[in-house]
Amino acid sequence: MVSIVVNGAPRAIDADPDTPLLYVLRNDLGLMGARFGCGLGLCGACFVQVDGVPVPSCDTPVWSLEGKSVVTIEGLTPHPVQQAFLDEQAAQCGYCVTGIIMSAAALLDRDPRPTAPTVARALDKHLCRCGAQQRMIRAVVKAGERMTAAPETGVAAGGEFDG
């Protein structure tokens, strides 16, 4: 039994300790937002945050998470970067998007006003086959601008979403 905090709630995970976190999230906890892409941590589709750091859940065994805090896209929602993705229509098939949003949100936590090249570097662990990268970079830059704008002129973080 491994004890993990998932999206703020303590969870006792009764799975083989070697089981990748991704399967536990998707099959045991019903959290489908992290996607299986490669199983080797090379594409970024399965990213979640562990203690605030984006990691691939497909090759993170649950035993390594004892006492740690996991945030998935479901726990992050609503986040201004999601609205920015919709505003920019920054996706085609969308399969890579939730993982990318997890990394983008972590980037904005440590660098609230990133430049486009900074965003690109921060997302280099993520692949997008449809070619929507430039729209996504634009969306993250704009989300940063909006989040750091003065409250009377900007949109408060998480203020206008229905999840």
Binding site: T19, M32, F36, L40, C43, Q92, Y95, T98, A132, Q133
Partner: protein, 684 residues
């Protein structure tokens, strides 16, 4: 009496397309499927406008074998085929409601119960999209940047993909592929017993089914280790693909033969090639199936064609096609015939071992990159003559390729991977090519759009190959346009003319001239660029009758070959969703840049070795160029698809920009830094 659009003629009953509910919601069923390209949103826009309702009242129903059969969602034909059918069906529905109301202004909700839609479409129903006076005043979605209907679920991480499907009692399946092409399963030895795992074997088809996904994955690894196979070398030498493609036997495809000998002008010739390319979608393919009774199976798939898939499954298993129901569920991006259909059939085979229980099969990343069909390798010879006035005076083109379609049901076989492994295997002949009416395959865009005298254009399709090829975005057009556009620049150089001016001197089609000049103007064609930077042009009209697209690439060659920017102009006729068109062109251009710069399927004599993202790299965020798209307004020209138009012109533009930057021509794709350095060292 006017003819019904093709897809409506094949499915004329209105209720198959449109159902009106008393709460005012209108269900719209189409046979085309969402592949990440936004087609469902664009079709909703068309339906809303023609019915004369707000877009929000339209509910798009995913395609299934209960709905209209529109074949495959492929070839950039959905807006043209499904759009025209849906528009006419909607016009017929509106005409029937108008008649029932006795007034062109009416409420669908009020009349929902009293208008019978189990009737054939009316070919002469007036089209509101051509005359707004004939119906309700609302409905102006077409032509505006409507946001994609499916994206909120995807951005917020809600279950939406087939991978997220969890049916009551569902089990998880995994397939163990042979270790090499053509391998035969001899035995599974010393298999460790595993709780709750069913091992399924049928000939050389091998799989496992279990209740827990992680356990099924581990069991598949155990079975893989326990399986003994008879293997042999079956693949061609990867370093000799040119020779392999030329060796034949071939089908000869004559596209043009103007029947005159080339004049005694200056001869030019060159050969261009591309390797095999993988679809490399972000999600491995997935399928779910449940046997509901003898001869009855329900299937869920991200296939491009639910009806043909259902028929192929029935053919593979000798079932009555009526017993096979297929429902479309969205998958990750689809760029052609990938492994979606194969995964569905894998699920059918595994589920047969556990009747009544749904089984979901998910392919591994390795199998996805190694066992899905590839876009064919190709090689093309161009030989032309240049007159003293600097114009092309003859043109000869020969392209060698495997076929570009092996979709379910092609060549009279199921075309499903596992069907070739089972005890009584189905044949898997070499891929064929789509017909001339469907825009060809190996020879798609082999006929240049330029005004050229004394043309002879011939395709040579390989009739046998151990490597499975099928449709991938733009089919043969990717290499054909790369070859033609590279050659145009090489000829312009010899003629001492500017590449843009040289193209315009050979191009009378006004729409082609417009996109070329628009892209050149937007990119600042002719401006001075620093040492090591180059601009290059690429142009084509997709299939010779689809979208016009011109691209200017800007590359820099300091450390690596890097595409900085792609400036694109496109004419797709009447635009249903401008931002959707831009998104498709941007994505197509970026994907083409990735193919052109880095992608190549690797293999040895037994198996494909490029089966991870490390061995099959695609462009990363930091490597992706900026893309600017100008949509050239062509007034009321008919709508054509945008999804494949940029593939060839982007490759041509990048190749020409690299040549402009380094002064050396690289004719074999991909244009990796190593390939360019090697060409420089050879002195071009």
């Amino acid at each position: 009496m006017a003819d019904l659009p093709k897809d409506l003629a094949a499915n004329p009953t209105l209720s198959r397309w449109i159902r009106v509910h008393a709460d005012g919601m209108i269900d719209v069923s189409v046979g085309k499927v969402e592949l990440g390209q936004g087609i469902v949103t664009a079709l909703a826009q068309i339906a809303a406008d023609e019915l004369g309702v707000e877009l929000a009242t339209i509910r798009m129903i995913p395609a299934g074998t209960d709905g209209p059969d529109e074949g495959f969602t492929a070839g950039s034909m959905s807006i043209m085929d499904s759009g025209s059918a849906l528009r006419m069906a909607a016009a017929s529905v509106r005409a029937r409601f108008t008649a029932a109301a006795g007034n062109p202004i009416f409420s669908y909700a009020d009349l929902a119960g009293s208008v019978d839609l189990d009737v054939p479409a009316e070919p002469d129903a007036p089209l509101r999209s051509q005359d707004t006076a004939v119906g309700n005043a609302v409905g102006n979605a077409v032509g505006s940047d409507v946001q994609r209907l499916d994206l909120p679920d995807k951005v917020f991480g809600r279950p939406r993909y087939i991978h997220d499907l969890r049916l009551p009692g569902q089990l998880f399946g995994r397939v163990i592929r042979p270790p090499s092409r053509g391998a035969r399963l001899i035995a599974v030895e010393g298999l460790p017993g595993s709780d709750g795992i069913t091992v399924v074997r049928d000939g050389s088809f091998l799989g496992v089914v279990g209740a827990d996904e992680a356990t099924a994955v581990r069991a598949a690894d155990d079975v893989r280790k326990a399986a003994r196979w008879a293997e042999h070398d079956s693949l061609p030498d990867e370093g000799e693909l040119d020779k392999f493609l030329r060796a034949g036997p071939h089908e000869t495809i004559e596209l043009a033969d103007d029947g005159t000998d080339p004049p005694d002008d200056r001869p030019l010739r060159a050969t261009y090639s591309r390797p095999f390319i993988a679809h490399a979608s972000m999600a491995p393919s997935c399928g779910t199936a449940v046997w509901t009774g003898p001869g009855r199976v329900d299937v869920w798939s991200h296939s491009q064609g639910v009806h043909p898939l259902g028929r192929a499954i029935a053919a593979a298993l000798g079932l009555d096609p009526a017993g096979v129901r297929v429902q479309h569920v969205e998958g990750a991006g689809c760029y052609g015939h990938n492994a979606a259909d194969d995964a569905a059939f894998d699920a059918v085979l595994l589920a047969r071992a556990v009747p009544g229980r749904p089984v979901q099969v998910l392919w591994s990343r390795q199998d996805e990159l190694a066992w899905a069909p590839f876009g064919s390798a190709m090689t093309a010879d161009v030989a032309a003559t240049l007159s003293p006035e600097g114009k092309l005076s003859s043109w000869r083109y020969d392209v060698y390729s495997q076929g570009h379609t092996a979709r379910p049901g092609y060549a009279g076989v199921p075309g499903l991977l596992a069907a070739t492994f089972v005890e009584n295997p189905a044949a898997y002949p070499a891929a064929v090519d789509p017909s001339a009416a469907s825009g060809y395959g190996s020879t798609r865009n082999a006929l240049p759009g330029y005004d050229l005298p004394r043309r002879r254009v011939t395709g040579h399709r390989l009739l046998a190959s151990p490597i499975r090829s099928s449709a991938m975005r733009a089919l043969g057009a990717y290499l054909n346009v790369f070859a033609i556009e590279s050659f145009m620049d090489e000829a312009a150089l010899v003629a001492g003319r500017d590449p843009l001016e040289f193209r315009l001197a050979h191009l009378s089609d006004p729409r082609g001239r417009r996109v070329l000049t628009a892209a050149a103007r937007a990119a600042g064609w002719g401006r001075p660029v620093p040492e090591g930077v180059g601009l290059g042009l690429g142009y084509a009209r997709y299939k010779g009758r689809g979208a016009y697209c011109a691209v200017v690439a800007e590359v820099e060659t300091e450390a690596d070959i890097r595409v900085r920017a792609l400036t694109i102009a496109v004419d797709v006729g009447q635009v249903v969703n401008p931002d959707g068109v831009r998104n498709q062109i941007e994505g197509g251009a970026v994907q083409s840049a990735s193919w052109t710069l880095t992608e190549r399927v690797r293999f040895n004599r037994r198996h494909v070795t490029s089966d991870t993202w490390e061995t099959y790299p695609i462009l990363t965020f930091s490597q992706v160029p900026s893309v600017a798209v100008t949509i050239v307004d062509s007034g009321a020209e008919k709508s054509v698809g945008a999804g494949e138009a940029a593939q060839g012109p982007t490759a041509g533009a990048i190749g020409n920009a690299v040549a402009a930057a380094v002064g050396v021509r690289v004719r074999d794709l991909p244009l990796t830094t190593e390939a360019v350095v090697a060409a420089i060292e050879r002195g071009g």
